[in-house]
Each structure stands twice: as structure tokens, then as C-alpha cells.
Subunit: 170 residues, 2 copies
DNA sequence: TGTTGATTGACAGTATACTGACGATCAAGG
DNA sequence: CCTTGATCGTCAGTATACTGTCAATCAACA
């Protein structure tokens, strides 16, 4: 068997590369989300942050970044935008002056409840072109891959660790 | 059978959502790419642009954006950075004063040749945690899904259309 | 030829993402 | 108590991504 030839330097190699496909699929996913949720003026990231704060009331920004696998620097501006929109409140923690505790406002809880159907539609649309069996297969593989590659990103997901300070984790 | 209950509003639902997994996998893919290609100071997007210009010498910015499924506004700054680094040249087209034609410099062709092994390593690492059969399955499903969802993004991929002006397409 | 409509590159504005750094604060040790 | 090191939120800087707009240019048509 001859030695493997050097791969050709063409754009077609890029089209088949995992990195390109992940970027492309992310573009498409964001586009579909924004389209379905236009009426609510919430980005996918802002939605994830709201859900996380709803699930873990009183969480601080650093732990929130771990819960949604989010860069801490970026999260600052996301939180600020949510605060300006009136969906969350930032209150200083009495026992630690460095920390600001995050809570949903009534308005935040309301929009979260109302946006759910649109989000569900968006998530469904992303996979709609595939056959049902293929959707399950793809999601299964993706869950695996993201989990196994967790440490490869700068901000690994730390869902459990982040809860300990709240006295809920074990 | 009782009617389907409303989905719970918790972060766990997000972890299993396609949109979240695509975002997460993109984060991881970019992180791995940057790590493997650190010595070359090229982002994934800049790499894709260089490859596309190498494949289609003399392409203009608008067509380039279609070839790599890239927003035209964003592409402007990407091109500028590549020009500052000395990897590409922008020359005005004699027959159309609106257009600037893009070509690789010798330096650009050289870095493209040199970076290929690092890019191959990065692409391999993204899928490494999966079994070989699962890697193929995932890529197959992703190629399908990206293709079938092509029109859902603002900048659909137009690989063929973009070539016609160069007299190469049919 | 002169107007109309489309295209091109550029720009402003917003929103993720990451790197690196900073002062304020806290916890632990001497 | 005081120093040391870690953590917290924040900021500056860079790089995608998208929306919308603009002047310059071009192509097509009356």
C-alpha cells in the first residue's frame, strides 16, 4: 500500500471537517432560535441564563458561568442586559461583599414561562429535516461528545460543583 | 393516557437541547483548533477564508462570503486582518470598480501549507472521544442536517453559484 | 441618454466569546 | 494582626456574527 498522499488544500476538505460543520450548525441554530423567539427579544444565551437563575435562585455570577458553561467575562454583559430589561435583580450578599446574588423578577419569571413554547418550536425545527430515529442518534452522539470533551473548553460545565454553595448539592 | 405535562422549567432541559449542544460543541471545537494552531496565529475563520481564496484565486468578498457561508459584514474585518498579516492581497478589478479581487501572497500560501497538519490534528481531536463508527455516524448526520437546514441561516452556503463568475462553474 | 434598481464594499450598532489584567475582598497561616 | 494566596466582579482588547444603512458603481430599460 502506498503512503497516504497529502490532503489537497481545497475548500471541499473544509466542508467535511467537524469544526466547520459545528460552526455552521451553530449559526443555523441561533438563526432559528432568533426567528421563533423574535417577539420576546431574548437571545439563546440570555434564555439559558434566565433558566439557570430560575433553577438556582440566589446564584452568583461565577457559579452561573459554570452552570451554563459560559465565559465569566462575557457573562457580565449578559447579566447587565438582563438587568436593564428588568428580568433579573442583582443583590449584594451580606456575608461576602465580593458576590452579587442573582434572582428573577416577576417580569423575568413571566417571560420565561411565556417563551417556552417558542423555544420548543425552535429546538424542534433544528432537527426537523432528519428522520426521528436519526434525530435521536445525533442527539445521543452529541451529548456523549460534549460530555467527553468537557475539559477541552476554557469553561467546562460544572453543573454539580456550582450548586454546593447553595446548600443543595451533596 | 393523560395529556402531556408542561415541560419543567429547569436547566436540565437546556442541557439536552440541540441548540445548547451545538453551541457547546462549537466552543469546544474552536478551543481545540486554537490550541493546536497556536504557533500560527490563525483563527478557524481566517483559515477557512485562506483555503477558499486558495481554491478560488481572484474571488471577490461577496462571493467569498457565499463560499464559506459567512456574513459579508463580518468578512470585511476578517479580510482586513489577513491583509495586515500579509497573507492576502486586495486588488481592484479593472472591469468593475466596486469589486476588489482577493489573492494569496507567497506568505499566505506558505502558512496554509504549514498549518495543515495542525488543523488535521485539531479536527481529529474533536471527534477522538467517540468510537470510530460513531464518528462516521455523527459526521454523516451533521453533513445531512447542515445541508438540509442550509436556507435557515442568514448566509446560506452557495458553493456552486459563487464560482460562476470565475468561468469555472457550469 | 437618463433613470431605475441591484450590487459591492464599507460602516455603525449590538451580542456573544475569549485572553489577560485589575482592585476589592475573603480565607488561612504565622 | 498581618501577610499570602485565592476568589469575585469588572474592564480593556481582540475576534466572530448579525442587522441595518450608505455611497459608489453597474446593468437594464425606457
Amino acid at each position: 500500500m502506498p503512503s497516504k498522499p497529502a490532503p489537497p488544500i481545497t475548500i471541499d476538505a473544509v466542508y467535511a471537517a467537524p469544526g466547520y460543520l459545528f460552526r455552521r450548525m451553530q449559526q443555523i441554530a441561533v438563526s432559528i432560535f432568533m426567528e421563533e423567539c423574535r417577539a420576546f427579544d431574548l437571545t439563546p444565551v440570555q434564555y439559558a441564563a434566565l433558566i439557570a437563575i430560575h433553577t438556582h435562585p440566589g446564584i452568583d455570577a461565577t457559579r452561573l458561568s459554570a452552570v451554563i458553561a459560559f465565559d465569566r467575562s462575557t457573562l457580565g454583559s449578559v447579566i447587565e442586559r438582563l438587568e436593564v430589561k428588568g428580568y433579573i435583580e442583582r443583590k449584594p450578599a451580606p456575608e461576602d461583599k465580593r458576590i452579587k446574588l442573582l434572582h428573577l423578577t416577576k417580569s423575568g419569571a413571566a417571560i420565561l414561562r411565556d417563551i417556552i413554547p417558542a423555544v420548543e418550536r425552535a429546538q424542534a425545527r433544528m432537527l426537523e429535516p432528519l428522520k426521528p430515529a436519526d434525530r435521536k442518534a445525533l442527539m445521543g452522539l452529541l451529548v456523549q461528545l460534549v460530555d467527553l470533551n468537557n475539559e477541552a473548553s476554557r469553561v467546562p460545565l460544572r453543573a454539580e460543583d456550582a450548586l454546593e454553595h447553595l446548600g443543595k448539592g451533596g
